[in-house]
């Protein structure tokens, strides 16, 4: 057992931390968020130049062979700045799916571009009635010779509005919730039959709804066999979201603690009141528990697929979702009215913390999943 970071990992952490610190002041974030892309293409480019977008890819594909631990270190820093770029979606999730399923030519074409940051990809797994169940796929794909066309609607595709490619899950066989018969396709969002309804998200990002009407798609991996890869890569993405959450939780806790020391009422700093002290301790306890589960998730994320791995990742997402919400709510409560305002940065941390649970499964979803996988004997 060893929780120490290697020298390289420490350098990576420092690189990411410095970049976020310099580029992401609250005012700048506001501007990025309000811009057309909804994030900073310049920051995205800098991530590429510093090699951060290449970290998780295998060395033979031009990456650094980073594991869940490296992903954690980067995501934690991105979380500290509540950054807006679709790093998890493009680099970890889309990149991971292509690495796992892609043919040599697909990898050649796409992975280098994703790793350099040149190509931003998105992943469309949810549907209007799937409610986080990745096997609930109603979108269909039809084959005509070697060509496939997709029809259906994919929900809340974060980063989909600017993506150069979108990976879409669609059913090529089986019933609506069968795990067999699900395939993945690479869709050109500017292609025929694709319509996007773009929107801002509550936490300051942007995404889109994806409407497919006989839209051409390029098969990624074997037809009907994509589900294991989808859940495996969703597991890596879950570990990444947990890390993002603890980064944001750390800042929320620090900012709240500072506020307790500065804000005076009844002639004393409000941090002198035991009722508030204990709530602050509870927040730190949540952070401690969430950090532990995030480390656990990071360590298993790159392991071979197994029930044990899935169980650990689903446990981590459950606990982090719940802790993130508690920290968000308590941070607002301990601040009082000021945290209800748009101009106060903490409010945006709180929003992101709660919205993380709406990506790849909320606490109810993961508790149910965990309960199914729990070993009883």
């Amino acid at each position: 057992m060893d929780f120490k970071l290697t020298e390289e990992q420490q350098m990576l952490q420092e690189t990411a931390a410095r970049l976020v610190r310099d580029a992401y002041t609250f005012d700048k974030r506001e501007k990025f968020s309000a811009s057309e892309t909804g994030f900073s293409p310049e920051f995205w480019q800098q991530m590429g130049e510093l090699g951060l977008t290449a970290i998780p890819f295998p060395e033979e594909l031009g990456g650094f062979g980073g594991t869940g631990v490296e992903n954690m270190l980067i995501m934690q820093e991105l979380g500290r700045g509540i950054t807006l770029e679709p790093y998890m979606e493009s680099v970890i999730l889309a990149g991971g799916l292509i690495t796992q399923l892609g043919s040599d030519s697909q990898k050649d074409e796409l992975l280098g571009a994703i790793a350099s940051g040149e190509l931003q990809a998105a992943v469309a797994l949810d549907e209007p009635s799937s409610h986080y169940l990745l096997n609930d796929v109603q979108t269909t794909a039809k084959q005509d010779g070697s060509d496939w066309t997709l029809s259906g609607r994919k929900a809340v595709v974060i980063g989909g509005h600017t993506a150069g490619k979108i990976l879409v899950s669609a059913r090529t066989a089986g019933d609506v919730r069968d795990e067999k018969g699900i395939s993945l396709f690479i869709v050109d969002p500017k292609g025929a039959g694709v319509t996007r309804r773009e929107y801002a998200t509550v936490d300051g990002r942007k995404g889109c709804e994806l409407f497919l009407d006989n839209a051409p798609g390029e098969l990624l991996g074997q037809a009907g066999e994509a589900f294991p890869a989808i859940t495996y890569q969703a597991g890596r993405a879950i570990a990444a979201l947990c890390a993002e959450a603890i980064g944001a939780m750390e800042v929320a806790c620090d900012v709240t603690l500072d506020y307790l020391k500065q804000r005076k009422q009844f002639g004393v700093p409000i941090g002198k009141f035991q009722a508030l002290q204990h709530r602050m301790v509870d927040m730190r306890t949540e952070l401690e528990q969430a950090t532990s589960m995030t480390i656990l998730a990071a360590c298993v994320a790159s392991e071979e697929d197994s029930v044990e791995r899935t169980r650990t990742l689903t446990a981590a997402k459950f606990l982090v979702n719940r802790s993130a919400r508690k920290v968000a709510e308590e941070a607002i409560q301990l601040h009082g009215g000021i945290a209800m305002t748009w101009e106060y940065s903490l409010a945006h941390y709180a929003k992101r913390l709660v919205m993380i649970s709406h990506q790849l499964g909320d606490d109810d979803h993961h508790l149910e999943a965990y309960a199914k996988l729990m070993s009883v004997a």
Partner: protein, 398 residues
């Protein structure tokens, strides 16, 4: 970063498992696993087995009969012991007074008391709390007045766990009533056979006799029984409390209790199927298992830091709070698991040699009582609210 045990640690775990498999008496394990009453003789029997193996006092320096175990080995040992149903070590001698004697005692005290703890000759109890001093320990009033080469002790201690078995008690006593609270306190070792000591049982809400009141009426204690300097007892007390708190997360015990919960919920039925397959109940078990997983990881992180030479500080207060909440949540589910059979109060079924028909199952008579008994976890060893005060002051600097 690697969350797995090293090959050496795994080999150690195998060694511990082997030992427990071969040496832990079946009847004792059965009592622990089903919550039956444990006798003094049971504790002593297990202690002798541990002592023989050299594992009774893992935290002591080797020169006094301890081990070279680091924090990881200690954690593994605790976890495996709990899993096999070994009784929890009664901590007052080996894990409480001994570390204080080793740290602050004279050479004579070490030579005299430590071997007797190791051999089981002495059973210690703790004289800290008083009727007027619980969480506010420093307000204690038991007086010790120096007269020649003796202290004359007068006062009352309470919540003295297993004091009915003890032949020695370590006490915090007030030696300087003029000094400010913490400053006039001394740490005194007292022979329970000394005239003037009375032990009275306190029956707890589960009907159990676990704690006592101890009265001191002109009790003569030789001055050589003082540990450390006179009026500096608070230093010993604080040292001991940090020692105490690290183990209070009780991860091993909670894991064993969770295994028990799954077993009970598999045996009990609802809606024609095992209770564990009931969606609502199962989700609650799942939730506490996840909490426990996180708390174990938090413990391992603190342990790993300790291995690097860091001293577990106020972080252990966070763990005490979380660990005890988890244990209480498990005992709550255990009580709920047996449904209406939580109601019958059957102390006779808690005896291992009860030979009548069990009303429900082997383990059910203990569950409601255990649930109430475990309310103590968030009260003792510094109540959870006190722990939060400590975190607030030491970590958050509020």
């Amino acid at each position: 970063m690697d969350i797995h045990y090293t090959p050496e640690e795994l080999a150690f775990r195998d060694e511990v498992r082997e030992f427990l498999k071969n040496e832990l008496p079946e009847d004792i394990a059965a009592k622990v696993k089903t919550g039956k009453n444990m006798s003094k003789a049971d504790h002593e029997r297990w202690q002798k087995i541990l002592s023989k193996r050299g594992w009774y006092a893992p935290g002591w320096p080797v020169e006094f009969g301890g081990t070279t175990w680091g924090p990881v080995e200690k954690h593994i040992f605790d976890e495996e012991s709990a899993a096999y149903g070994a009784p929890r070590t009664v901590p007052f001698g080996v894990n409480m007074v001994a570390p204080v004697i080793i740290k602050f005692g004279t050479e004579e005290q070490k030579q005299h008391y430590l071997p007797r703890i190791l051999s089981g000759e002495d059973w210690w109890c703790q004289g800290y709390s008083e009727p007027g001093a619980g969480s506010d320990l420093a307000s204690l009033k038991t007086r010790a007045v120096r007269e020649g080469d003796h202290y004359i002790v007068n006062g009352q201690k309470t919540w003295t766990t297993l004091g009915q078995h003890a032949n020695w008690i370590f006490c915090l006593v007030r030696t300087d009533p003029e000094a400010q609270q913490q400053r006039g306190i001394s740490f005194l070792l007292i022979d329970m056979a000394t005239p003037g000591i009375t032990v009275r049982p306190i029956i707890t809400l589960d009907g159990d006799h676990e704690v006592n009141e101890v009265f001191f009426d002109d009790v003569k204690v030789p001055v050589e029984n003082l540990v450390g300097e006179e009026n500096k007892g608070w230093t010993c007390a604080k040292y001991l409390l940090t020692h105490e708190r690290t183990g209070l997360a009780g991860i091993g015990a909670s894991k064993a209790a969770l295994t028990h919960l799954k077993k009970v919920a598999t045996q009990q039925h609802k809606n024609g199927k095992p209770l564990i397959d009931d969606a609502v109940f199962r989700a609650q078990v799942a939730q506490v298992e996840i909490e426990l997983m996180a708390a174990e990881m938090s413990t391992l992180r603190i342990i790993a830091a300790a291995k690097e030479g860091g001293v577990p500080g106020a972080e252990s207060s966070i763990l005490k709070v979380k660990g005890t909440e988890i244990r209480q949540a498990i005992t709550n589910l255990l009580r709920k698991a047996i449904g209406p059979y939580a109601l019958p109060f059957l102390p006779e079924e808690l005896e291992y040699d009860f030979d009548g028909d069990m009303l429900n199952s082997e383990s059910s008579p203990a569950l409601a009582g255990d649930y109430f008994n475990m309310r103590k976890l968030s009260i003792f060893g510094g109540s959870n609210e006190i722990q939060k005060n400590i975190v607030s002051k030491m970590i958050l600097e509020l």
